[in-house]
């Protein structure tokens, strides 16, 4: 239990109603979208930056660990608390403060749901592109802390590419602001981008200023069926090489297609090794031209069938297959873990070939869906976490995926983060000096090490002390 003195003082800051420590509350905040669980000592719901600051001052004085959290959709375990720590849940800081059309920016509190911001800016003819699949519930604060991606990253980039400024509460309780409202800014170190993807280790993000784009006039999807997986991967690289940038380019392998067919019966060919789903957006005339070009490249690249949507309904129909992937996989087994390895696009065909081998070697089930255009691959492992022997095989397969991807010039994680899920693999990607610098950055922001102690850096901080 957290000491009653700390609980009392938390209640003094926030009022009883916004400090929870009943066993039910603690259990409900012991997890996120990752596998592990750990009970905190209290959960608090601040409404203002001042309240977050007061909580952090108290936590610093008492040296109590703090884990910031939004909606808890984190896939790498970064929002799982440490025992006896405080969860600072930001869901109630959910006001959109400003939408500025002339400067094409929006300012929102950290607890605003991504989808709510999208809706608000779209009503004014603008768009906020980052679209993680959790977009209808995940918070902007969480999106920034994890540098969330999504389907449209190929053309539009990730959360990082839309950040202009942040307001951040440090571990000490001090409040800083980074960046500015300007499109250009080279003044000093780019702390905005450093905080983005810092997984809650450097500060609690409370306010976010994002860049907006005009909403694209039109969009059009196509579906291309490839008997050969390698040719599908090659076609992705060729489309990129042809100077066309689709907004979305997704690949589903045979395992995924089979699972989707079992679940949805959409009539997709089970014998095809890969299906590419591609969307082009922009001005109407450009979209028409580019979609025809992409269709041609697919046919020339070995597609046995190319279907271009002719209406919004057909567009939706094409995306239905992709949207059903998660549901189809979740039904295969009690536990599903989506890996997140990423390789340079040109290495995609080679990497895709590795998964069936790895699956066979470790006797695990791996189905692959990929944001093919940006090389971000989600090999999905299906298992039952209660089966320890199977868990061990899954673990070995995951390690091999990481090793293969790094050998091809890839990275551990494209968009899900490191958190608890991949911390042990960090030394495979970073040399000791790099890890040392990261530990020093962490200490500069949080000398007591109370923020997100369950983070990707925890082992390396302990080692370098």
């Amino acid at each position: 239990m957290l000491s009653s003195k700390v609980l009392k003082r938390l209640e003094g800051i926030l009022g009883q109603e916004r400090v929870k420590s009943a066993p039910e509350d603690l259990l409900a905040y012991s997890y996120d979208g990752y596998l592990q669980e750990s009970l905190p000592g209290a959960v608090v719901f601040p409404r203002t930056t001042e309240e977050v600051s007061a909580v952090m001052k108290l936590a610093s004085a008492e040296k109590v660990p703090v884990t910031p959290r939004g909606a808890g959709t984190n896939l790498s375990g970064g929002s799982i608390p440490v025992p006896e720590g405080i969860v600072v849940c930001l869901t109630r800081m959910n006001r959109i403060l400003e939408i500025d059309e002339r400067n094409r920016l929006a300012v929102a509190e950290a607890g605003v749901i991504n989808g709510d911001l999208q809706k608000a800016v779209e009503a004014r003819g603008l768009t906020y592109p980052p679209d993680p699949s959790s977009q209808f519930i995940s918070t902007l604060g969480g999106n920034v802390a994890e540098n969330a991606g999504g389907l449209k990253c190929l053309k539009y980039g990730t959360t990082r590419d839309y950040l202009l400024a942040l307001e951040v509460v440090l571990a000490s309780g001090e409040v800083i602001t980074t960046g500015s409202r300007t499109a250009k800014n080279v003044t000093g170190y780019d702390l905005t981008r450093l905080l983005c993807g810092s997984e809650g280790t450097l500060g609690i993000i409370t306010k976010i200023t994002v860049r907006l784009l005009p909403k694209p006039e039109s969009k059009r999807a196509l579906q291309a069926i490839f008997p050969d997986l390698g040719q599908a991967g090659e076609t992705v690289a060729r489309i990129m090489g042809a100077g066309i940038t689709p907004s979305i380019m997704e690949l589903m392998d045979q395992g995924i297609t089979g699972a989707v067919e079992d679940f949805m019966h959409l009539g997709l060919p089970r014998d095809a090794e890969a299906i590419l789903l591609i969307e082009v957006d922009g001005r109407q005339e450009m979209v028409e031209k580019e979609v025809a070009q992409v269709a041609e490249l697919c046919s020339a690249g070995g597609a046995s069938e190319v279907k271009v949507a002719r209406s919004d309904e057909e567009n939706e129909q094409i995306w239905l297959a992709r949207r059903s992937v998660f549901g189809a996989l979740a039904r295969l087994s009690p536990t599903t873990f989506s890996e997140d390895t990423t390789v340079p696009v040109s290495q995609l065909p080679l990497m895709l070939r590795k998964f069936p081998e790895i699956a066979r070697r470790h006797n695990v089930r791996i189905a692959v869906v990929a944001h093919a255009g940006d090389g971000n691959i989600h090999p999905c492992l299906s298992f039952d976490e209660r089966d320890r022997e199977e868990m061990a095989r899954v673990e070995r397969a995951a390690q091999e995926i990481v090793a293969e991807s790094l050998a091809l010039g890839g990275t551990l994680s494209g968009e899900h983060g490191i958190g608890l899920s991949k911390a042990r693999f960090l030394p495979m990607e970073f040399d000791p000096t790099t890890l040392q610098i990261m530990a020093q950055i962490k200490r500069a922001f949080d000398p007591l090490g109370i923020l997100s102690p369950n983070s990707f850096l925890s082992q390396h901080l302990a080692a370098s002390r």
């Binding site: 929870k20 009943a22 066993p23 039910e24 509350d25 259990l27 409900a28 905040y29 997890y31 996120d32 979208g33 990752y34 719901f45 909606a71 808890g72 959709t73 849940c89 869901t91 109630r92 959910n94 607890g111 749901i113 989808g115 959790s134 209808f136 519930i137 995940s138 998660f326 549901g327 996989l329 979740a330 039904r331 009690p334 536990t335 599903t336 039952d384 209660r386």
Partner: protein, 414 residues
């Protein structure tokens, strides 16, 4: 109640959090314990002895509308509603039913219960109450005027169409809300069926379908209601039993067979009865003669999908097609037409603030499309929507789909 083996499905929750976005209560409360994922994880904790039953857990379990919104988006296809009922029944096992519910279930809603008498008592007493006495945050003066005679006393058991030509014969299960609170919904349905030459049978001595008992985690009286109704409905010669209450319909059609299976009993009679149950909108939509009976109704109307009709039974197009077939009626689709109205049975009485906040979202969508009338397919939604709208003196009418159809029939020039 879900069996032990059904409750094992808590382990299929992958904790993705997609249900949080769909849950009307989480969207208001913004706390994990209010979410479907949170409740499933708490049930898992309870079953793993990591958590003990507590009054707080009981409160958490009761904070659910059973609107099926979460189940509709769950990638693992979990029957979240059944799990929450399972959690509630665990609480009932530990603490018993709350006294108000125990009294109401035993004396009012059990077979031969006195719900009708209670309504008559309320009808007489309500006008005598001071306005500060509120139910669900609603002043009693805003409650609907209660009828003097329940539906089943207004009609004989068998209602033949005028002229004696019987094209077909159907039974009608009115349910407590239509029988005792909104008998005019039943009257509208009966007059439509009569005009279509269809004989209607309202079986005597039906018991409450059991929805309030089921969703409270009560089992004993529920089993009696279920047995009673299955015998009554099973012995009817009619091949079709109509319902105009989405909740009654869903319970009779799907939950009866489900419960029999979970109780390890023979479910064949329940399946057989379930196959006879049909929502009025599905039935009427197939009646070809209906269209030409309808006269012009120049008004702007929108439709609210009851959760137990749209999400639980997949009935979405039929009511809309019926409403669109009314001449000169301007049918407008509101945003999020299938979002819950916030009723959830006794939820609105136990959590009036949350219920009102959810209802307000619905009212905004209704106002946005400029509707004069909201039609819906469930008396419980009608109750929640009209108490919310009346509170604002909006002048917007809430009706059941069959009422507006009957109104249009009355406008037909003869």
């Amino acid at each position: 109640m879900p069996s032990d083996s059904s409750l094992e499905s808590v382990h299929n929750c992958i904790k993705c959090g997609l249900c949080l976005a769909a849950c009307p209560i989480y969207r208001q409360v913004l706390e994990e314990t209010a979410s479907p994922r949170g409740k499933v994880q708490l049930l898992k904790g309870l079953r793993q002895d990591r958590l003990e039953p507590s009054p707080y857990l009981e409160e958490i379990a009761s904070r659910c509308l059973l609107c099926h919104s979460c189940a509709a988006v769950c990638p693992s296809g979990m029957e979240v509603g059944h799990l929450i009922v399972g959690l509630r029944s665990e609480m009932v096992k530990s603490f018993g039913l709350e006294w108000k519910k125990r009294l109401a279930f035993r004396h009012l809603l059990s077979p031969g219960g006195r719900f009708g008498t209670a309504i008559q008592g309320a009808r007489i007493l309500t006008p005598l109450m001071p306005p500060w006495i509120k139910v669900a945050g609603i002043s009693l003066s805003h409650l609907p005027p209660l009828p003097t005679t329940p539906l089943h006393r207004q009609y004989p058991e068998k209602i033949a169409p005028p002229g004696g030509r019987v094209r077909a014969s159907v039974a009608f299960f009115p349910g407590c809300m239509i029988d005792y609170v909104y008998p005019e919904i039943g009257s509208s349905l009966i007059s439509l069926l009569q005009a279509l030459g269809i004989e209607v049978i309202i079986p005597r001595d039906l018991a409450c379908c059991g929805t309030p008992l089921f969703i409270s985690g009560e089992e004993e009286i529920l089993a009696r209601n279920l047995q009673h109704n299955l015998e009554k409905l099973g012995s009817l010669p009619a091949k079709i039993v109509l319902t105009a209450c989405a909740s009654c319909g869903h319970t009779l059609k799907k939950e009866y067979p489900y419960l029999m299976r979970e109780w390890g009993k023979d479910s064949s009679l329940a399946e057989e009865v379930g196959a006879k149950i049909q929502d009025v909108s599905v039935f009427l939509q197939r009646e070809e003669g209906l269209g030409e009976m309808l006269g012009p109704l120049p008004t702007t109307l929108t439709y609210h999908d009851p959760c137990h009709l749209a999400k639980a039974e997949g009935v979405r197009t039929e009511p809309r097609q019926l409403l669109r077939s009314i001449p000169e009626l301007n049918f407008v689709e509101m945003a999020e037409a299938d979002a819950c109205c916030g009723g959830g049975g006794s939820f609105q009485f136990y959590f009036p603030q949350t219920s009102q906040a959810i209802a307000s979202l619905k009212l905004n969508h209704i106002r946005e499309v400029g509707a004069d009338i909201v039609a819906t397919g469930c008396p419980a939604c009608r109750f929640r929507l009209s108490t919310a709208l009346d509170r604002e003196d909006s002048g917007i009418r809430v009706v059941h789909t069959v009422q507006i159809l009957d109104e249009a029939r009355g406008r037909r020039k003869r």
